[in-house]
């Protein structure tokens, strides 16, 4: 039995086309950057002998690369990385500018109060937090700010590693070249954790994916899912 969708009876989540394009561009860019970054990392690991499994990285078949590039896929990975960076920067800029200008950030991602984050985190971990389409709880708001800040740090630390001479002031801000590499790695790890949580929650509340793909999803107000 279907009722007519109305804000009084339904929770509605809407994403403008611009946001959806920026979101999926960002998703693709981050996957390219992490996959190729792992392959580049593998050529000279920072942490002991730890290397990422080849299947999880981006850079092509190592055997084929040995013939074409005389390396195990580093040239390909670097090309992915330095192509993906433009996609990442462009989509990030698009997303941030839209969020700031449209008022989306102010309306939906603020305020961020520690007390509320704590309350909602406890509720979520005890499966007592209801998810309402179109509304972000305090934990979500904090996480979105964290990941947006994280991507910014990835771009800046990436620039610091890419241009330690031309942008030596930036590299200095990150504590020098070797430290900037470690920062780049650690923040990447944080973004990976975000992705795991983000995708897990989408799997629990699939309608959010419908909204991010088609622009709109609605749910009767009495059908709240308990989502962690």
């Amino acid at each position: 039995m279907k009722r007519k969708i109305h804000p009084l009876t339904h929770d509605i989540q809407e994403h403008p086309l611009l946001v959806r394009i920026a979101h999926w561009m960002q998703a693709l860019a981050i996957i390219i950057m992490i996959g190729s970054g792992w392959r580049i990392y593998n050529s000279v690991p920072i942490f002991g002998d730890y290397r990422f499994p080849i299947w999880a990285t981006l850079g092509g078949d190592p055997a084929e690369s040995k013939i074409g590039h005389m390396d195990p896929g580093v040239a390909n990975a670097l090309n992915w990385h330095f192509t993906g960076m433009w996609l990442l920067a462009a989509s990030y800029l698009l997303f941030m500018l839209h969020g700031l200008i449209s008022g989306h950030f102010i309306r939906h991602l603020l305020p961020v109060r520690p007390r509320e984050i704590w309350r909602d985190a406890v509720a979520a971990l005890t499966f007592k937090l209801a998810h309402r389409l179109g509304e972000y709880n305090a934990v979500q708001r904090a996480l979105y700010w964290a990941v947006l800040f994280g991507v910014l740090i990835m771009i800046l630390s990436g620039l610091a590693i890419w241009k330690p001479v031309q942008l030596s002031w930036l590299t200095w801000c990150f504590g020098g070249y070797p430290t900037a590499r470690v920062v780049h790695f650690l923040v990447m790890t944080g973004i990976c954790l975000f992705i795991v949580i983000h995708v897990a929650l989408v799997a629990l509340v699939p309608k959010t994916l419908v909204a991010m793909v088609f622009g709109r999803a609605a749910e009767a107000k009495d059908a709240h899912h308990a989502a962690p």
């Binding site: 092509g60 078949d61 896929g73 992915w80 030596s168």
Partner: protein, 243 residues
Amino acid sequence: MPRPEGWKVPDVDRRALVKSGLSLGALTLLTGCDISDNDVVQDMFAKVSRWNSFVQSELFSGTRLAPEYPESMAVKNFRYNAWYHWQLAPVISAADYRLELAGLIDVKTPWTVRQLYALPQQSQVTRHVCVEGWSMIGKWTGTPLRVFLERVGADLTAKYVGFACADGYYESIDMATALHPQTIMAFQLSDETLPAEYGFPFKIRIPTKLGFKQPKFVTAIYVTNRNPGGFWVDRGYNWFSGI
């Protein structure tokens, strides 16, 4: 927030779930499947790489210097790096060696090691950055490439300076970088004449570029307006590779 009445199995939108599964699958495919060596992808890489070289050349400043470090930070046992074992590095006899000059250069008379080592020299303690991510601070001593190019009457308005090496390696750099005050023909590493595997009789030390742009055992220098490419550049690495 209102608490749901009791725990119910969520009414999962099956179509959406399939879709989410598909998109995740697509993402895994992207990383798992080898599209890197696909011709279209390689073609895109080449185009983006040319664009990135252009951006980097715009970002490059002929007067901005690479940070210099106190001498105490210079590593004594500098890392050996090449695609072959260090014992296979070419051993050059100083008596037989001649540096050949070609292209847009007025005086193409070959140079001996003794003549090269008599050139005015300067030292730098700078960071060497490898494309793979490792880096090391070292002390290099030698002649600014600019001084040498001026002395042999090179056309300084030409676009590229190319290098050929005793081990079959070859490289090329933009003229702006060749004329940068810290770009030197390094005769010494850590105050000692360059050992064979580090590039005797000299290597090109460029603290504004990645390590692979800095050829060792240089046997020929030429000035040209056609981009000569480079050993790793022709294998997919970015040509400008500035840092």
